[in-house]
């Protein structure tokens, strides 16, 4: 009897300790994020203004704004996403739906994606420079940078999309086939919508990585800070701008902080938008 009571007390204590541990971890993570945010706000908020967003940089970025840099960043991002997404998602569908599990083909593709995912971004930069800038004669341009980023995005987009597709219960495929639906129809109407939130989350991760990328762009899209006229112009990405301001430009700390603030807000905004989008897609599919 006594033993039972003591055991119960012990178990309660253990449960309590576990809870404390979990809360501490959560608190720690939030604290890091909040600290970062406060630091950014303190350093950059005073410098941030509407003019900062809409004006061109002057005096190596010490004065003026980041308009041209934002445009370059968005163009690089657009090129990267528009080229990587179709390739990655089609590969994911192929791997998850049409290639038998354990076949050598699937293994080979997955292996190369794993390797690709582990390659440091500076190596991507060198490759992009050699291949896109020099071999394809695209030069230091937004196009080269975007295509290099696309190569970096491939593994992350493919593996998340494949995981999302595989997480769709097999019974949907069985039930769809039992109703005489073709595989394409089942894929289009059932499996892709069910996997859409995960695929959107993967896209987010990818965009986040691409937004924050510096090293791979250093040798490909270059760091010209003027407004790009076309995709073949060199353009400086936001992360590269922050790097340049804080490393190479004395007195560039304030605009660097302000740019970082813009970058983080952009990341947050994209996250929220994509979450809304994934949710809306799911809902509209449910309703139609």
């Amino acid at each position: 009897m006594y033993d039972v009571v003591r055991n119960r007390g012990l178990r309660k204590l253990r449960e309590y300790a576990a809870q404390c541990l979990i809360y501490t971890a959560v608190l720690l993570i939030s604290a890091v994020f909040i600290w970062l945010l406060i630091d950014l706000l303190r350093g950059g908020l005073s410098h941030l203004s509407w003019e900062f967003i809409t004006e061109l940089p002057r005096d190596a970025g010490r004065a003026g704004g980041i308009a041209s840099i934002l445009v370059s960043t968005l163009l690089i991002l657009l090129v990267a996403v528009l080229t990587a997404v179709p390739v990655a998602w089609m590969t994911a569908v192929l791997l998850a739906e049409f290639v038998a599990t354990g076949s050598w083909f699937g293994k080979a593709v997955r292996f190369s994606l794993h390797v690709l995912a582990g390659v440091p971004s500076i190596v991507f930069g060198l490759f992009g420079n050699a291949f896109f800038c020099v071999y394809l004669e695209l030069g230091f341009s937004i196009l080269s940078g975007g295509l290099t980023l696309a190569c970096m995005l491939l593994p992350i987009l493919t593996s998340t999309a494949e995981a999302g597709l595989r997480a769709v219960p097999h019974v949907y495929r069985l039930a769809a086939s039992a109703l005489g639906l073709s595989r394409a129809a089942a894929l289009l109407h059932l499996i892709l919508p069910a996997a859409a939130p995960v695929m959107a989350a993967g896209l987010l991760l990818g965009i986040g990585r691409a937004l924050a990328e510096t090293a791979a762009l250093l040798f490909t899209s270059g760091y010209a800070e003027r407004m790009p006229d076309s995709l073949l112009d060199s353009g400086r990405a936001l992360a590269l701008h922050i790097f340049d301001l804080s490393m190479n430009v004395p007195g560039g700390d304030e605009p660097a902080y302000a740019s970082a603030l813009v970058l983080v807000s952009l990341l947050l905004g994209i996250n929220i938008l994509a979450m809304k989008f994934a949710y809306g897609l799911q809902r509209s599919k449910l309703m139609s």
């Binding site: 599990t101 039930a175 086939s177 039992a178 109703l179 005489g180």
Partner: protein, 281 residues
Amino acid sequence: MNIEQEVGKCDPFTLGPLEAGPACCDPLPVIQVKDLSLRYNGKPALEKVSLDIYEGCITALIGPSGCGKTSLLSAINRLTDLIPGCSVNGRILMQGRNIYDRDENVQALRRQVGMVFQKPTPFPLSIRRNLSLSLHEHGITRKTEVADISEQALRDVGLWDEVCDRMDSAALNLSGGQQQRLCIARALALQPQILLMDEPCSALDPIASGVVEDLICRLRGRYTVVIVTHNLAQARRIANYAAFFWVSGHAGQLIEFGRCQKIFESPRHELTAAYVNGVRG
């Protein structure tokens, strides 16, 4: 709702009318399974099964767990194609043609042979879309026609009154019994000749199960039904024919096939007798 009443709507022992030979139960085989063997990754699950499924009748497949009843059902609509490592030998004739022929149109076959799974499998879509998706796929696209067919199918399974005012809400919000009836309606909407049901009541409470059972009874004559059930009383209540399977060696085998009454009251094989009397299995 009284289960006895629900079930009582169809005659409890169908073998009486069968002996008298009602129109629905002419022993006309629509499916002939001939020497069917089925393996998973080389491991046999069914060995040399031969049986006929008669038109308009309800055929119950009974037997202990793991004897290959589900496997036989999935062989009949070639759902086995989707199961990795599954290989089928032998023939299944449907109107004289072997469905395992190379040039068989599997999509058309599966339209002809509907299937209801053990666990309800509604798609994560609206109720309306659950029904219309397969209709669209089979070329029925006119809005009014789709709506009419959907309504008729839902009425057939007694679900119309419960869902007619929320056709656009998610099918996953329905109760388990409603989901299962939706799945049956989804299969019926394609107007199949044959309906395969894999323990359709096993995930349902007795009342919902009674409703589904009653529904299956009403399908008799219009559809040919093959039903797997572990509920022997249910098999006895609704089936015209019964097939008893048993695992001997490592593979499932058909031990006895015949009129339901025969199987339950004067089985030829002692294993059958032991199983239906609850001594073994």
